[in-house]
Protein backbone atom coordinates (compact mmCIF):
# COMPACT_ATOMS: atom_id res chain seq x y z
CA UNK A 1 0.00 0.00 0.00
CA UNK A 2 1.58 3.18 -1.18
CA UNK A 3 1.42 6.61 0.31
CA UNK A 4 -1.04 7.80 -2.27
CA UNK A 5 -3.60 5.33 -1.04
CA UNK A 6 -3.86 7.04 2.36
CA UNK A 7 -6.85 9.28 2.29
CA UNK A 8 -6.08 11.47 5.28
CA UNK A 9 -4.06 14.32 3.89
CA UNK A 10 -2.37 15.25 7.19
CA UNK A 11 -1.29 11.66 7.76
CA UNK A 12 -0.08 11.34 4.18
CA UNK A 13 2.02 14.47 4.53
CA UNK A 14 3.48 13.30 7.77
CA UNK A 15 4.49 9.95 6.34
CA UNK A 16 5.93 11.56 3.24
CA UNK A 17 8.09 13.85 5.32
CA UNK A 18 9.30 10.88 7.30
CA UNK A 19 10.06 8.97 4.12
CA UNK A 20 12.12 11.83 2.80
CA UNK A 21 14.12 12.13 5.96
CA UNK A 22 14.84 8.42 5.82
CA UNK A 23 15.94 8.65 2.20
CA UNK A 24 18.27 11.54 2.95
CA UNK A 25 19.73 9.73 5.85
CA UNK A 26 20.36 6.65 3.78
CA UNK A 27 22.05 8.73 1.11
CA UNK A 28 24.31 10.40 3.62
CA UNK A 29 25.19 7.05 5.09
CA UNK A 30 25.94 5.60 1.66
CA UNK A 31 28.21 8.49 0.80
CA UNK A 32 29.99 8.28 4.11
CA UNK A 33 30.74 4.62 3.59
CA UNK A 34 31.90 5.22 0.06
CA UNK A 35 34.20 7.96 1.23
CA UNK A 36 35.64 5.71 3.89
CA UNK A 37 36.18 2.86 1.49
CA UNK A 38 37.82 5.14 -1.04
CA UNK A 39 40.08 6.69 1.55
CA UNK A 40 41.29 3.21 2.41
CA UNK A 41 41.61 2.18 -1.20
CA UNK A 42 42.20 5.06 -3.64
CA UNK A 43 41.89 2.71 -6.60
CA UNK A 44 38.18 2.47 -5.97
CA UNK A 45 37.81 6.18 -6.36
CA UNK A 46 39.80 6.17 -9.55
CA UNK A 47 37.69 3.38 -10.94
CA UNK A 48 34.52 5.23 -10.04
CA UNK A 49 35.68 8.44 -11.64
CA UNK A 50 36.79 6.55 -14.71
CA UNK A 51 33.41 5.00 -15.14
CA UNK A 52 31.32 7.97 -14.20
CA UNK A 53 32.02 10.38 -17.03
CA UNK A 54 29.13 12.74 -17.72
CA UNK A 55 28.18 13.18 -21.35
CA UNK A 56 29.00 16.70 -22.48
CA UNK A 57 28.63 18.48 -25.77
CA UNK A 58 32.37 18.26 -26.14
CA UNK A 59 32.82 14.53 -25.70
CA UNK A 60 29.77 13.62 -27.73
CA UNK A 61 30.75 15.77 -30.65
CA UNK A 62 29.58 14.63 -34.05
CA UNK A 63 32.14 13.18 -36.42
CA UNK A 64 33.57 15.84 -38.65
CA UNK A 65 36.13 15.06 -41.29
CA UNK A 66 37.41 18.63 -41.17
CA UNK A 67 38.89 18.01 -37.73
CA UNK A 68 42.64 17.86 -37.85
CA UNK A 69 43.67 14.87 -35.80
CA UNK A 70 47.09 15.18 -34.20
CA UNK A 71 49.96 15.73 -36.58
CA UNK A 72 48.55 15.67 -40.06
CA UNK A 73 51.29 15.75 -42.68
CA UNK A 74 48.97 16.93 -45.43
CA UNK A 75 47.63 19.80 -43.35
CA UNK A 76 51.11 20.76 -42.23
CA UNK A 77 52.19 20.82 -45.86
CA UNK A 78 49.30 23.05 -46.84
CA UNK A 79 49.82 25.38 -43.94
CA UNK A 80 53.42 25.74 -44.89
CA UNK A 81 52.49 27.66 -48.00
CA UNK A 82 49.22 29.34 -47.13
CA UNK A 83 48.66 33.07 -46.78
CA UNK A 84 50.25 33.15 -43.33
CA UNK A 85 53.45 31.42 -44.38
CA UNK A 86 55.30 34.72 -44.51
CA UNK A 87 54.38 35.56 -40.93
CA UNK A 88 55.38 32.15 -39.64
CA UNK A 89 58.53 32.49 -41.69
CA UNK A 90 59.49 35.48 -39.56
CA UNK A 91 57.98 38.55 -41.20
CA UNK A 92 57.20 41.13 -38.52
CA UNK A 93 53.50 41.96 -38.27
CA UNK A 94 52.38 45.50 -39.00
CA UNK A 95 48.77 46.02 -38.08
CA UNK A 96 46.39 48.88 -38.73
CA UNK A 97 43.11 49.31 -36.90
CA UNK A 98 40.22 51.52 -37.89
CA UNK A 99 36.49 51.73 -37.40
CA UNK A 100 33.43 52.38 -39.45
CA UNK A 101 32.87 56.09 -40.20
CA UNK A 102 31.59 58.29 -37.38
CA UNK A 103 32.61 55.86 -34.67
CA UNK A 104 31.30 56.64 -31.22
CA UNK A 105 32.99 56.86 -27.86
CA UNK A 106 32.54 53.21 -26.94
CA UNK A 107 33.93 51.96 -30.21
CA UNK A 108 36.99 54.16 -29.98
CA UNK A 109 37.40 53.03 -26.38
CA UNK A 110 37.40 49.44 -27.53
CA UNK A 111 39.97 50.24 -30.18
CA UNK A 112 42.18 51.72 -27.49
CA UNK A 113 41.85 48.54 -25.47
CA UNK A 114 42.91 46.62 -28.55
CA UNK A 115 45.91 48.90 -28.91
CA UNK A 116 47.08 47.91 -25.46
CA UNK A 117 46.80 44.24 -26.42
CA UNK A 118 48.39 44.03 -29.84
CA UNK A 119 51.89 45.48 -29.87
CA UNK A 120 52.66 48.12 -32.49
CA UNK A 121 49.04 48.47 -33.47
CA UNK A 122 48.35 51.65 -35.39
CA UNK A 123 45.01 53.41 -35.19
CA UNK A 124 43.82 55.61 -38.00
CA UNK A 125 40.59 57.51 -37.60
CA UNK A 126 38.16 56.59 -40.29
CA UNK A 127 36.92 59.37 -42.52
CA UNK A 128 34.09 59.23 -44.97
CA UNK A 129 36.10 59.68 -48.08
CA UNK A 130 37.36 56.17 -48.73
CA UNK A 131 35.64 52.86 -49.00
CA UNK A 132 36.99 49.85 -47.14
CA UNK A 133 38.22 48.28 -50.34
CA UNK A 134 40.20 51.40 -51.14
CA UNK A 135 41.66 51.45 -47.64
CA UNK A 136 42.73 47.85 -48.06
CA UNK A 137 44.61 48.78 -51.20
CA UNK A 138 46.31 51.68 -49.40
CA UNK A 139 47.34 49.30 -46.62
CA UNK A 140 48.74 46.87 -49.13
CA UNK A 141 50.77 49.65 -50.64
CA UNK A 142 52.14 50.59 -47.23
CA UNK A 143 53.05 46.99 -46.45
CA UNK A 144 50.71 46.38 -43.60
CA UNK A 145 50.21 42.72 -42.82
CA UNK A 146 46.78 43.03 -41.24
CA UNK A 147 43.84 45.38 -41.09
CA UNK A 148 41.30 45.33 -38.28
CA UNK A 149 37.99 47.13 -38.69
CA UNK A 150 35.64 47.56 -35.76
CA UNK A 151 32.04 48.14 -36.79
CA UNK A 152 29.45 49.69 -34.58
CA UNK A 153 25.71 49.79 -34.32
CA UNK A 154 23.75 52.15 -32.10
CA UNK A 155 27.00 53.40 -30.62
CA UNK A 156 28.21 49.96 -29.55
CA UNK A 157 30.94 47.97 -31.25
CA UNK A 158 29.24 44.92 -32.70
CA UNK A 159 31.47 43.42 -35.35
CA UNK A 160 35.11 42.94 -36.07
CA UNK A 161 36.56 42.40 -39.51
CA UNK A 162 40.03 41.03 -39.86
CA UNK A 163 41.78 41.33 -43.21
CA UNK A 164 45.09 39.62 -43.67
CA UNK A 165 47.24 41.33 -46.25
CA UNK A 166 48.38 41.18 -48.98
CA UNK A 167 46.40 38.15 -50.16
CA UNK A 168 43.65 37.64 -47.61
CA UNK A 169 41.76 35.88 -46.13
CA UNK A 170 39.11 38.09 -44.58
CA UNK A 171 37.18 37.09 -41.49
CA UNK A 172 34.12 38.78 -40.04
CA UNK A 173 33.20 38.22 -36.42
CA UNK A 174 30.34 39.15 -34.21
CA UNK A 175 31.63 40.96 -31.17
CA UNK A 176 29.86 40.62 -27.85
CA UNK A 177 30.35 40.86 -24.12
CA UNK A 178 33.06 43.46 -24.21
CA UNK A 179 34.47 44.34 -20.86
CA UNK A 180 37.23 46.88 -20.60
CA UNK A 181 40.23 46.28 -18.42
CA UNK A 182 39.09 48.73 -15.79
CA UNK A 183 35.68 47.14 -15.46
CA UNK A 184 37.21 43.87 -14.33
CA UNK A 185 37.49 43.49 -10.58
CA UNK A 186 41.05 43.00 -9.40
CA UNK A 187 42.50 43.71 -12.81
CA UNK A 188 46.21 44.10 -13.38
CA UNK A 189 48.09 46.59 -15.43
CA UNK A 190 49.46 45.80 -18.82
CA UNK A 191 53.12 46.27 -19.60
CA UNK A 192 54.60 46.92 -23.00
CA UNK A 193 56.10 43.43 -23.23
CA UNK A 194 55.10 41.30 -26.18
CA UNK A 195 52.56 38.84 -24.82
CA UNK A 196 52.62 35.12 -25.37
CA UNK A 197 49.74 33.58 -27.18
CA UNK A 198 47.49 30.72 -26.19
CA UNK A 199 45.18 29.35 -28.86
CA UNK A 200 42.96 26.73 -27.35
CA UNK A 201 40.77 24.16 -29.05
CA UNK A 202 40.90 25.33 -32.64
CA UNK A 203 40.38 21.90 -34.08
CA UNK A 204 39.15 21.98 -37.68
CA UNK A 205 40.77 23.30 -40.81
CA UNK A 206 38.62 26.40 -40.56
CA UNK A 207 39.60 26.72 -36.93
CA UNK A 208 43.26 26.49 -37.83
CA UNK A 209 42.88 29.26 -40.39
CA UNK A 210 41.17 31.49 -37.86
CA UNK A 211 43.74 30.66 -35.20
CA UNK A 212 46.59 31.43 -37.54
CA UNK A 213 44.91 34.69 -38.38
CA UNK A 214 44.92 35.72 -34.72
CA UNK A 215 48.48 34.54 -34.27
CA UNK A 216 49.59 36.67 -37.19
CA UNK A 217 48.61 39.83 -35.32
CA UNK A 218 51.22 39.31 -32.61
CA UNK A 219 55.01 39.38 -32.75
CA UNK A 220 56.44 35.91 -33.22
CA UNK A 221 58.76 35.90 -30.21
CA UNK A 222 57.09 36.90 -26.93
CA UNK A 223 58.91 38.70 -24.14
CA UNK A 224 58.44 36.17 -21.40
CA UNK A 225 59.66 38.41 -18.62
CA UNK A 226 56.38 40.33 -18.99
CA UNK A 227 54.48 37.19 -17.94
CA UNK A 228 51.50 38.23 -20.02
CA UNK A 229 49.43 35.69 -21.84
CA UNK A 230 46.79 36.46 -24.43
CA UNK A 231 44.26 33.70 -24.88
CA UNK A 232 41.90 32.92 -27.71
CA UNK A 233 39.86 30.04 -26.42
CA UNK A 234 37.39 28.43 -28.76
CA UNK A 235 34.49 26.64 -27.17
CA UNK A 236 31.48 25.62 -29.25
CA UNK A 237 32.42 28.19 -31.91
CA UNK A 238 32.53 31.05 -29.43
CA UNK A 239 36.02 32.48 -29.24
CA UNK A 240 36.75 33.91 -25.83
CA UNK A 241 39.45 36.50 -25.60
CA UNK A 242 41.25 36.98 -22.30
CA UNK A 243 44.52 38.50 -21.18
CA UNK A 244 46.26 37.55 -17.97
CA UNK A 245 49.40 38.07 -16.04
CA UNK A 246 50.55 34.79 -14.56
CA UNK A 247 52.94 33.69 -11.87
CA UNK A 248 54.21 30.20 -11.28
CA UNK A 249 53.82 29.52 -7.56
CA UNK A 250 55.29 26.07 -7.64
CA UNK A 251 55.64 23.21 -10.07
CA UNK A 252 51.94 22.44 -9.89
CA UNK A 253 50.31 25.79 -9.42
CA UNK A 254 50.10 28.92 -11.50
CA UNK A 255 48.13 31.99 -10.49
CA UNK A 256 46.42 34.32 -12.90
CA UNK A 257 45.50 37.95 -12.70
CA UNK A 258 43.29 39.25 -15.44
CA UNK A 259 44.49 42.34 -17.24
CA UNK A 260 41.63 42.73 -19.67
CA UNK A 261 39.92 43.50 -21.91
CA UNK A 262 37.69 40.52 -22.41
CA UNK A 263 35.31 39.93 -25.25
CA UNK A 264 33.75 37.14 -27.26
CA UNK A 265 33.96 36.63 -30.99
CA UNK A 266 31.83 34.48 -33.19
CA UNK A 267 32.76 33.86 -36.78
CA UNK A 268 30.17 35.13 -39.24
CA UNK A 269 31.99 34.51 -42.45
CA UNK A 270 35.41 33.82 -43.84
CA UNK A 271 36.23 35.08 -47.27
CA UNK A 272 39.05 33.89 -49.43
CA UNK A 273 41.18 36.77 -50.61
CA UNK A 274 40.67 40.39 -49.76
CA UNK A 275 37.39 41.88 -48.63
CA UNK A 276 35.00 41.96 -51.53
CA UNK A 277 31.31 42.08 -50.66
CA UNK A 278 30.12 41.93 -54.27
CA UNK A 279 32.06 39.08 -55.82
CA UNK A 280 34.22 37.60 -53.08
CA UNK A 281 34.51 33.86 -52.63
CA UNK A 282 33.24 32.79 -49.25
CA UNK A 283 34.91 29.83 -47.62
CA UNK A 284 32.36 29.67 -44.88
CA UNK A 285 29.24 31.63 -44.00
CA UNK A 286 27.27 31.33 -40.84
CA UNK A 287 23.63 30.50 -41.25
CA UNK A 288 21.16 29.93 -38.48
CA UNK A 289 20.27 26.63 -40.16
CA UNK A 290 23.76 25.38 -39.45
CA UNK A 291 23.08 25.37 -35.75
CA UNK A 292 20.66 22.51 -35.85
CA UNK A 293 22.79 20.34 -33.62
CA UNK A 294 24.72 21.55 -30.61
CA UNK A 295 27.14 18.69 -31.02
CA UNK A 296 28.39 20.06 -34.29
CA UNK A 297 31.02 22.78 -34.23
CA UNK A 298 32.89 24.38 -37.06
CA UNK A 299 36.04 25.80 -35.56
Amino acid sequence: MGLSDIKNKAKRGELLAKQRVEADKAKRQRRKELKKAEAANPELREARLRENVPATQENTREYDEAVVAGEDAEVAQEEEDDEFAQYFGGQAPKVLVTTTPNAGRKTVGFVKELMSVVPNLEYVKRGKKFELQQIIQFCRGREYTDLVVVSEDHGEPTHLTLVHLPEGPTAHFRLTRIKGGKEIAGHGRATAHYPELILNRFSTRLGHTVGRMFAALFPQVPEFQGRQAVTFHNQRDYIFFRRHRYVFRNSKRVDLQEIGPRFTLKLRWLQKGLYDPASGEYEWIYKADLETSRRRVFL
Binding site: T176, I198, F248
Partner: protein, 314 residues
Protein backbone atom coordinates in the same frame (compact mmCIF):
# COMPACT_ATOMS: atom_id res chain seq x y z
CA UNK B 1 -1.31 66.14 -91.42
CA UNK B 2 -1.19 69.61 -90.22
CA UNK B 3 -3.96 69.44 -87.64
CA UNK B 4 -2.02 70.50 -84.58
CA UNK B 5 -4.65 73.06 -83.71
CA UNK B 6 -7.45 70.49 -83.66
CA UNK B 7 -5.39 68.10 -81.50
CA UNK B 8 -4.61 70.80 -79.01
CA UNK B 9 -8.28 71.81 -78.87
CA UNK B 10 -9.21 68.26 -77.91
CA UNK B 11 -6.36 67.75 -75.45
CA UNK B 12 -6.85 71.05 -73.78
CA UNK B 13 -10.62 71.31 -73.64
CA UNK B 14 -11.76 67.69 -73.56
CA UNK B 15 -9.34 65.05 -72.34
CA UNK B 16 -5.61 64.19 -72.30
CA UNK B 17 -4.40 61.08 -70.47
CA UNK B 18 -0.95 62.67 -69.94
CA UNK B 19 -2.29 65.78 -68.29
CA UNK B 20 -1.83 66.23 -64.56
CA UNK B 21 -3.71 69.07 -62.97
CA UNK B 22 -2.13 70.74 -59.97
CA UNK B 23 -2.77 73.95 -58.05
CA UNK B 24 0.28 75.54 -59.62
CA UNK B 25 -0.66 74.69 -63.18
CA UNK B 26 -0.98 71.78 -65.53
CA UNK B 27 1.83 69.30 -66.02
CA UNK B 28 2.46 66.68 -68.68
CA UNK B 29 3.44 63.06 -68.12
CA UNK B 30 4.34 62.27 -71.74
CA UNK B 31 7.79 60.65 -72.10
CA UNK B 32 8.79 62.88 -74.97
CA UNK B 33 7.80 66.14 -73.32
CA UNK B 34 10.75 68.49 -73.29
CA UNK B 35 10.03 70.33 -70.05
CA UNK B 36 7.12 68.56 -68.38
CA UNK B 37 4.75 71.49 -68.63
CA UNK B 38 1.39 71.31 -70.34
CA UNK B 39 0.79 74.11 -72.84
CA UNK B 40 0.33 74.65 -76.51
CA UNK B 41 3.98 75.29 -77.24
CA UNK B 42 5.47 72.38 -75.33
CA UNK B 43 2.95 69.67 -76.07
CA UNK B 44 4.63 66.73 -77.84
CA UNK B 45 1.37 65.57 -79.35
CA UNK B 46 0.02 68.84 -80.69
CA UNK B 47 3.28 69.90 -82.37
CA UNK B 48 4.42 68.34 -85.59
CA UNK B 49 7.78 70.03 -85.21
CA UNK B 50 9.16 68.84 -81.92
CA UNK B 51 12.50 67.72 -80.50
CA UNK B 52 13.64 66.35 -77.16
CA UNK B 53 16.57 64.62 -75.45
CA UNK B 54 16.10 61.26 -73.78
CA UNK B 55 18.23 58.62 -72.10
CA UNK B 56 18.07 54.87 -72.57
CA UNK B 57 20.39 52.63 -70.56
CA UNK B 58 23.02 55.28 -69.93
CA UNK B 59 23.04 56.47 -73.57
CA UNK B 60 21.66 59.87 -74.50
CA UNK B 61 19.66 60.40 -77.69
CA UNK B 62 18.32 63.42 -79.45
CA UNK B 63 14.78 62.65 -80.61
CA UNK B 64 13.34 64.59 -83.52
CA UNK B 65 9.81 64.36 -84.83
CA UNK B 66 9.81 63.93 -88.58
CA UNK B 67 6.86 65.12 -90.61
CA UNK B 68 7.32 62.34 -93.19
CA UNK B 69 6.70 59.64 -90.59
CA UNK B 70 3.75 61.24 -88.86
CA UNK B 71 1.39 58.53 -90.18
CA UNK B 72 3.35 55.88 -88.22
CA UNK B 73 3.30 57.03 -84.58
CA UNK B 74 5.68 54.26 -83.47
CA UNK B 75 8.31 55.34 -85.96
CA UNK B 76 7.76 59.06 -86.03
CA UNK B 77 10.71 59.89 -83.77
CA UNK B 78 14.14 59.97 -85.33
CA UNK B 79 16.80 59.08 -82.76
CA UNK B 80 20.27 60.52 -82.98
CA UNK B 81 22.76 59.14 -80.50
CA UNK B 82 24.73 61.91 -78.83
CA UNK B 83 28.46 61.48 -78.21
CA UNK B 84 29.64 60.87 -74.63
CA UNK B 85 31.66 64.05 -74.71
CA UNK B 86 29.44 66.90 -73.60
CA UNK B 87 30.86 69.54 -75.93
CA UNK B 88 30.54 67.21 -78.91
CA UNK B 89 26.99 66.35 -77.86
CA UNK B 90 26.08 70.03 -77.81
CA UNK B 91 27.64 70.44 -81.23
CA UNK B 92 25.61 67.50 -82.51
CA UNK B 93 22.42 69.08 -81.26
CA UNK B 94 23.33 72.32 -83.02
CA UNK B 95 24.04 70.49 -86.24
CA UNK B 96 20.82 68.49 -86.19
CA UNK B 97 18.55 71.37 -85.22
CA UNK B 98 20.00 74.05 -87.41
CA UNK B 99 16.72 75.68 -88.47
CA UNK B 100 14.64 74.85 -85.41
CA UNK B 101 13.19 77.44 -83.05
CA UNK B 102 15.81 78.82 -80.71
CA UNK B 103 13.94 78.12 -77.48
CA UNK B 104 13.67 74.40 -78.42
CA UNK B 105 17.41 74.15 -79.12
CA UNK B 106 18.16 75.76 -75.79
CA UNK B 107 15.80 73.58 -73.83
CA UNK B 108 17.25 70.47 -75.48
CA UNK B 109 20.70 71.56 -74.37
CA UNK B 110 19.42 72.17 -70.85
CA UNK B 111 17.92 68.74 -70.78
CA UNK B 112 21.18 67.26 -72.04
CA UNK B 113 23.04 68.95 -69.18
CA UNK B 114 20.61 67.62 -66.63
CA UNK B 115 20.78 64.06 -67.95
CA UNK B 116 24.58 64.14 -68.15
CA UNK B 117 24.75 65.25 -64.54
CA UNK B 118 22.43 62.60 -63.24
CA UNK B 119 24.31 59.92 -65.15
CA UNK B 120 27.55 61.04 -63.53
CA UNK B 121 25.88 60.93 -60.14
CA UNK B 122 24.48 57.49 -60.79
CA UNK B 123 27.86 56.10 -61.73
CA UNK B 124 29.50 57.59 -58.66
CA UNK B 125 26.87 56.12 -56.37
CA UNK B 126 27.30 52.76 -58.01
CA UNK B 127 30.98 52.73 -57.05
CA UNK B 128 30.25 53.50 -53.42
CA UNK B 129 29.48 50.59 -51.16
CA UNK B 130 25.92 50.58 -50.08
CA UNK B 131 24.72 50.11 -46.56
CA UNK B 132 22.20 47.40 -46.16
CA UNK B 133 19.97 47.17 -43.15
CA UNK B 134 20.09 43.78 -41.53
CA UNK B 135 17.27 42.82 -39.23
CA UNK B 136 18.20 41.87 -35.70
CA UNK B 137 16.55 38.57 -35.05
CA UNK B 138 15.59 38.63 -31.43
CA UNK B 139 15.20 34.93 -31.06
CA UNK B 140 18.59 34.27 -32.62
CA UNK B 141 20.23 36.88 -30.42
CA UNK B 142 18.72 35.39 -27.33
CA UNK B 143 19.77 31.90 -28.32
CA UNK B 144 23.32 32.98 -29.02
CA UNK B 145 23.48 34.82 -25.74
CA UNK B 146 22.49 31.81 -23.69
CA UNK B 147 24.72 29.50 -25.67
CA UNK B 148 27.61 31.86 -25.21
CA UNK B 149 27.12 31.88 -21.46
CA UNK B 150 26.98 28.11 -21.39
CA UNK B 151 30.02 27.77 -23.61
CA UNK B 152 31.94 30.08 -21.31
CA UNK B 153 31.01 27.98 -18.33
CA UNK B 154 32.02 24.82 -20.15
CA UNK B 155 35.32 26.36 -21.23
CA UNK B 156 36.51 26.79 -17.64
CA UNK B 157 38.84 29.41 -19.00
CA UNK B 158 41.06 29.94 -15.99
CA UNK B 159 41.71 26.25 -15.50
CA UNK B 160 42.46 25.64 -19.14
CA UNK B 161 44.82 28.60 -19.31
CA UNK B 162 46.60 27.52 -16.15
CA UNK B 163 46.95 24.01 -17.50
CA UNK B 164 48.37 25.25 -20.76
CA UNK B 165 50.89 27.51 -19.01
CA UNK B 166 52.11 24.73 -16.73
CA UNK B 167 52.36 22.42 -19.70
CA UNK B 168 54.51 24.95 -21.49
CA UNK B 169 56.74 25.38 -18.48
CA UNK B 170 57.22 21.66 -18.06
CA UNK B 171 57.82 20.99 -21.73
CA UNK B 172 60.49 23.71 -21.70
CA UNK B 173 58.68 25.83 -24.23
CA UNK B 174 60.12 28.81 -22.35
CA UNK B 175 63.62 27.57 -22.92
CA UNK B 176 66.12 26.22 -20.44
CA UNK B 177 66.54 29.51 -18.62
CA UNK B 178 63.02 30.83 -18.44
CA UNK B 179 62.63 34.48 -17.61
CA UNK B 180 59.10 34.16 -16.37
CA UNK B 181 59.65 31.73 -13.52
CA UNK B 182 60.86 32.26 -10.03
CA UNK B 183 64.17 30.51 -9.56
CA UNK B 184 62.96 28.34 -6.72
CA UNK B 185 60.03 27.14 -8.82
CA UNK B 186 62.23 26.37 -11.76
CA UNK B 187 64.55 24.46 -9.48
CA UNK B 188 61.63 22.49 -8.19
CA UNK B 189 60.64 21.53 -11.70
CA UNK B 190 64.15 20.52 -12.64
CA UNK B 191 64.36 18.44 -9.49
CA UNK B 192 61.11 16.72 -10.35
CA UNK B 193 62.46 16.01 -13.77
CA UNK B 194 65.72 14.70 -12.38
CA UNK B 195 63.83 12.38 -10.08
CA UNK B 196 61.90 11.05 -13.01
CA UNK B 197 65.11 10.65 -14.96
CA UNK B 198 66.77 8.85 -12.08
CA UNK B 199 64.05 6.29 -11.93
CA UNK B 200 64.77 5.47 -15.55
CA UNK B 201 67.56 3.09 -16.27
CA UNK B 202 70.81 4.89 -16.88
CA UNK B 203 74.26 3.71 -17.90
CA UNK B 204 76.63 2.70 -15.17
CA UNK B 205 79.06 5.50 -15.79
CA UNK B 206 76.39 8.09 -15.43
CA UNK B 207 75.21 6.51 -12.24
CA UNK B 208 78.65 6.74 -10.73
CA UNK B 209 78.98 10.36 -11.69
CA UNK B 210 75.64 11.14 -10.29
CA UNK B 211 76.49 9.53 -7.00
CA UNK B 212 79.52 11.72 -6.67
CA UNK B 213 77.52 14.77 -7.56
CA UNK B 214 74.85 13.91 -5.10
CA UNK B 215 77.41 13.63 -2.36
CA UNK B 216 78.77 16.99 -3.24
CA UNK B 217 75.36 18.56 -3.37
CA UNK B 218 73.92 16.88 -0.32
CA UNK B 219 75.37 19.32 2.15
CA UNK B 220 73.99 22.37 0.47
CA UNK B 221 70.48 21.48 -0.45
CA UNK B 222 69.16 22.22 2.99
CA UNK B 223 69.76 25.92 3.06
CA UNK B 224 69.38 28.10 0.01
CA UNK B 225 70.28 31.44 1.47
CA UNK B 226 73.73 30.24 2.46
CA UNK B 227 74.48 29.24 -1.07
CA UNK B 228 73.57 32.59 -2.41
CA UNK B 229 75.69 34.46 0.02
CA UNK B 230 78.82 32.46 -0.58
CA UNK B 231 81.02 33.18 -3.60
CA UNK B 232 80.31 31.02 -6.61
CA UNK B 233 83.47 29.05 -7.31
CA UNK B 234 83.61 27.45 -3.86
CA UNK B 235 80.39 25.62 -4.59
CA UNK B 236 80.94 24.71 -8.20
CA UNK B 237 80.39 21.00 -8.03
CA UNK B 238 80.76 20.48 -11.74
CA UNK B 239 83.74 18.31 -12.42
CA UNK B 240 84.27 19.09 -16.10
CA UNK B 241 86.17 21.94 -17.62
CA UNK B 242 83.16 23.32 -19.40
CA UNK B 243 81.50 24.20 -16.16
CA UNK B 244 84.53 26.00 -14.89
CA UNK B 245 84.55 28.15 -17.97
CA UNK B 246 80.96 29.04 -17.40
CA UNK B 247 81.69 29.93 -13.84
CA UNK B 248 84.31 32.41 -14.88
CA UNK B 249 81.82 34.09 -17.12
CA UNK B 250 79.34 34.07 -14.29
CA UNK B 251 81.69 35.89 -11.98
CA UNK B 252 81.87 38.79 -14.38
CA UNK B 253 78.15 38.94 -14.50
CA UNK B 254 77.80 38.64 -10.75
CA UNK B 255 79.85 41.70 -10.02
CA UNK B 256 77.51 43.80 -12.09
CA UNK B 257 74.45 42.19 -10.67
CA UNK B 258 75.54 42.08 -7.06
CA UNK B 259 73.52 45.10 -6.04
CA UNK B 260 70.36 44.02 -7.77
CA UNK B 261 70.85 40.45 -6.53
CA UNK B 262 70.61 41.45 -2.94
CA UNK B 263 67.44 43.37 -3.77
CA UNK B 264 65.80 40.51 -5.53
CA UNK B 265 66.73 38.14 -2.73
CA UNK B 266 64.98 40.26 -0.19
CA UNK B 267 61.98 40.46 -2.50
CA UNK B 268 61.73 36.79 -3.05
CA UNK B 269 59.06 35.92 -0.52
CA UNK B 270 56.70 38.14 -2.41
CA UNK B 271 57.00 36.14 -5.56
CA UNK B 272 55.23 38.77 -7.61
CA UNK B 273 58.29 41.01 -7.76
CA UNK B 274 59.20 41.62 -11.33
CA UNK B 275 62.53 40.60 -12.62
CA UNK B 276 64.58 43.46 -13.94
CA UNK B 277 64.14 43.55 -17.67
CA UNK B 278 67.80 44.42 -18.20
CA UNK B 279 68.97 41.16 -16.71
CA UNK B 280 70.23 40.13 -20.12
CA UNK B 281 71.72 36.66 -20.18
CA UNK B 282 70.82 35.99 -16.54
CA UNK B 283 73.38 33.40 -15.63
CA UNK B 284 71.95 32.84 -12.17
CA UNK B 285 69.36 30.13 -12.69
CA UNK B 286 71.82 28.05 -14.61
CA UNK B 287 74.34 28.21 -11.82
CA UNK B 288 71.81 27.45 -9.15
CA UNK B 289 70.61 24.41 -10.97
CA UNK B 290 74.17 23.27 -11.51
CA UNK B 291 75.04 23.39 -7.87
CA UNK B 292 72.36 20.95 -7.05
CA UNK B 293 74.07 18.08 -8.59
CA UNK B 294 72.69 15.36 -10.72
CA UNK B 295 70.82 17.35 -13.31
CA UNK B 296 73.84 19.05 -14.84
CA UNK B 297 73.24 16.90 -17.87
CA UNK B 298 71.08 19.64 -19.33
CA UNK B 299 72.65 21.60 -22.13
CA UNK B 300 72.29 25.28 -21.67
CA UNK B 301 71.62 27.30 -24.71
CA UNK B 302 70.96 30.90 -25.42
CA UNK B 303 67.36 32.01 -26.03
CA UNK B 304 65.59 28.96 -27.30
CA UNK B 305 63.77 28.86 -30.58
CA UNK B 306 60.93 27.10 -28.85
CA UNK B 307 58.33 29.88 -29.03
CA UNK B 308 57.79 29.32 -32.72
CA UNK B 309 56.82 25.74 -32.22
CA UNK B 310 54.68 26.81 -29.31
CA UNK B 311 52.80 29.39 -31.29
CA UNK B 312 51.71 26.88 -33.83
CA UNK B 313 50.91 24.32 -31.19
CA UNK B 314 47.26 24.66 -30.43
Amino acid sequence: MNNDGIIWEVLNNQFCSYKVKTDLGNLCRHQYNLTGRCNRKECPLANSRYATVREWGGRIYLCLKTAERAHMPSKQWERVELPKNFAQAVATIDANMQFWPGWMINTCKQRLTKITQYLIRMRRLKLKSKHTLVPIKKKLERRERTREAKAEAAARLDQSIEKELLERLRSKAYGDQPLNVNESVWKEILEGEALAAESDATTEDELEEEEELEDAAAGFVSDESDIEDMPGPAYSSGPDEEDEDEDEEDEDGDEDDSASDSDSDSDQPAAKSKRPADAGARPKPAKRAKKHGPRVEIEYETEAAAPDAMLTNW
